[in-house]
Subunit: 333 residues, 2 copies
C-alpha cells in the first residue's frame, strides 16, 4: 500500500497538549490517517484507499495503516507516537477490541486492537467510526456543553453516539443504530428491515428515492434539496418525508432519553437551515411535555473521526502510563 499516493487532507483544529499519537479512521472507500504531535497539531493528514481483500481485509487494513505509520516515522522522525487510535465501521465491540462485522468489508470477528498493537508497536484504542467522531464532537465540538447528548451522523447511513451523564453508551457495540428503526411501511432497507430511518432519510436514500420516483439520476441529497427549493414537487415530497421521518425518530429518542441536545453531522447536515428549521418544527409538533433538545450542526467537520481516534489514543497512552506505575507509588504519595 505504500506505493499508493497519500492525499493530504486539510488539518483540523488542534487537540491541545498531550502525547504524540497516530489516528486512523477506516471507511468503506478511504482510510484517513493522521500524525498528531505533543502540541495537538495534526502534523500530517493523509487519505489512502481502504484495501478490500475478502476474508483477509482485516489483515490488509492493519498492514496498510502500519505502512502509513512507517512513512510518518520516516518523514517526521521528531514526532514519536506513544499510542494509536483506530476506528472502523460496522458492528464494533470497543471493549473487546474486535471488528465483528462491516457491510462491504470482509472481516468477521477480527481482533483489530491486538493486531494493530502488534503491527504498530504502540498501545491501540479501538472503536466505531461514528462513536469516535461523536466523541470528538462531545469533547471538542458542538456537543461539548452537554452531559446528555446524542451525536448523529447522517450520510450514506445513519447512526449515532449516545452520551448520558457524560459517558458514551456502547450497548455491546450495537447502540446508536437509530438508522435501523422502523419509521415507515417502506422501502426495504439494506439490513433486511422495512421502512428503516436510513432507507428513508439518509443522504443516499434521499437521492435514491428521488431517482426511483422520477427516473432521474441525481448524485446526492444536495441536488434533491436544490430541486425542491426550485419548485420540483417530487423533490419537495422526498425531502419533506425524509425530514418527517427524522423528526419521528428523534421524538422517540427524546421520549426515551430526554437528551439536552442532538448534534447532527454527516453530509445531510450541510443542508443547514433547510434541514434544521423544518426538523425542529416537526419535532416540536410531535412532542408535548417532553424536554425539547437543542438541535445543532456538528462543528468539527469531516476530520471528526480522526480527531476522535487521536483523543482515544491519548486516553490509551495515559491509561498505559497509569498502569505502568508501581502500586507502591500510590501508597507513598
Amino acid at each position: 500500500m505504500t506505493a499508493e499516493p497519500l492525499t493530504p487532507l486539510p488539518a483540523a483544529a488542534p487537540l491541545g497538549d498531550g502525547a504524540p499519537v497516530l489516528a486512523f479512521d477506516v471507511g468503506g472507500t478511504d482510510t484517513k490517517a493522521a500524525l498528531v504531535d505533543a502540541a495537538g497539531r495534526l502534523v500530517q493528514v493523509v487519505r489512502i484507499p481502504t484495501p478490500h481483500a475478502g476474508d483477509a481485509t482485516g489483515d490488509a487494513v492493519v498492514a496498510a495503516i502500519a505502512a502509513v505509520a512507517e512513512r510518518f516515522r520516516a518523514e517526521h522522525p521528531g514526532v514519536v507516537p506513544q499510542a494509536a487510535g483506530l476506528l472502523v465501521p460496522g458492528h464494533v465491540d470497543d471493549d473487546a477490541g474486535v471488528g465483528i462485522f462491516a457491510e462491504n468489508l470482509g472481516w468477521r470477528d477480527f481482533p483489530f486492537r491486538d493486531r494493530a498493537e502488534a503491527a504498530l508497536g504502540v498501545p491501540v484504542a479501538f472503536s466505531h467510526d461514528v462513536r469516535g467522531a461523536g466523541e470528538a464532537e462531545h469533547r471538542l465540538g458542538a456537543a461539548a456543553p452537554y452531559r446528555d447528548v446524542v451525536v448523529m451522523a447522517i450520510g450514506t447511513g445513519i447512526a449515532g453516539a449516545i452520551f448520558l451523564d457524560g459517558r458514551l453508551h456502547t450497548g455491546g457495540g450495537l447502540a446508536g443504530e437509530m438508522g435501523h428503526s422502523r419509521v415507515a411501511d417502506g422501502p426495504l432497507c439494506a439490513c433486511g428491515g422495512i421502512g428503516c430511518l436510513e432507507a428513508v432519510a439518509s443522504a443516499a436514500a434521499i437521492a435514491r428515492r428521488y431517482n426511483a420516483l422520477t427516473g432521474a439520476d441525481v448524485p446526492g441529497a444536495r441536488e434533491v434539496l436544490a430541486l425542491a427549493q426550485s419548485g420540483d414537487e417530487a423533490a419537495r415530497a422526498v425531502w419533506d418525508s425524509a425530514v418527517d421521518a427524522l423528526a419521528l425518530d428523534l421524538s422517540h429518542t427524546v421520549a426515551l432519553l430526554a437528551p439536552e441536545a442532538v448534534v447532527i453531522g454527516g453530509g445531510l447536515a450541510q443542508a443547514g437551515p433547510a434541514l434544521f428549521e423544518p426538523l425542529a418544527e416537526k419535532l416540536d409538533a410531535i412532542l408535548t411535555f417532553h424536554r425539547r433538545p437543542v438541535l445543532l450542526p456538528a462543528s468539527i467537520g469531516e476530520n471528526a473521526g480522526l480527531i476522535g481516534a487521536a483523543l482515544r489514543a491519548r486516553d490509551r497512552s495515559a491509561g498505559s502510563a497509569a498502569r505502568s506505575v508501581e502500586p507502591s507509588a500510590e501508597v507513598a504519595s
Copy 2:
C-alpha cells in the same frame, strides 16, 4: 390523616441487612408506606388514601406520610429509621428533590425532599415511582443480572427506568417516557400527543379502546384478553394492535440502546405468555441485525416501589454517614 384506616399490605421479600428506614410510594389514588428493620424485613406495610388538596397537595402528602411515620414509631419503638425513601409520580427531578408536576395531583415544583426531611427528621431520598420500582427490579429482581436493561411499567400509563452500564439514566427526570412516543396515527393521548404508545397499549387504553369500539363496558385489559381468547374479534384486534405498538416501540429502544434485557411489570405483565410470546415474536420480526433483548416479567410485584424507596433510603443513610466522617479521618487511614 391518622384517622384514616391503615390497610396492611402483604410484606415483600426482605432487603437484607442495613439501616432501618421508612419507605413511601405515593400514587394517584393510594400511598403505600413501610417500616423496614435492620434485617431488611418489612415490619409494617400500610396503604392510605393519597390526599388531594389542590395547590396544597404537596404539603398534605408530606403531612400524611409524617403521620404514618409517627404511628410506626409508636407501634414499633424498637425500629428507629435512619432515613426515608419517597417516590411520587409525574415529572420528578431526582437530583433537585423536586416534584415538578403530576397529572391529577396539584403540585408544581414542590420541594418534596426538603419538606419531607423537615417533617420526618431524617435524610430523605426522593425519586420517581417508576424509577424507584425499576431500581428494586434492578437490584433485587428480574433485571439484576443485566447492566444494560430497561424496566417498563405498563398499567394505567407506560413508563420505564433505563439502566445503562448499571447506572440509572434520569434525563433531568424526563427519561423513560416511552409511553409518550408516537406509534400510530391515533388515538389522542391525555398528554396532547397523537397515537402515543400509552394511548394504544396501556392496560387502561386497551379497555378504553375495546369499549369505544364495541359499546361494552369492560373494566380492564384482563377482560379484553379473556374475550380475545374466547374468540371475540374486536377484542382480538385491540389486543393485537396493542402488542404491535409495544413491539414497534421496543424496536426503537433496541435500535437506540441495544439493552441486554427488557423487564416488564405493571398490570399488563400479569397477562403472562399471552403478552410476552406474541411480543417477542413481533419484535423479532421487526429487528434484523440488532441485539435481541431478553424479555422478562418483573419479579418483585406490587411492592416494588416500596422496596425501591427503601433501597434509596438506605443509600441516603449510608451517604449521610459517609458525609459525617471528618475529612481528617480519610487522611489518617
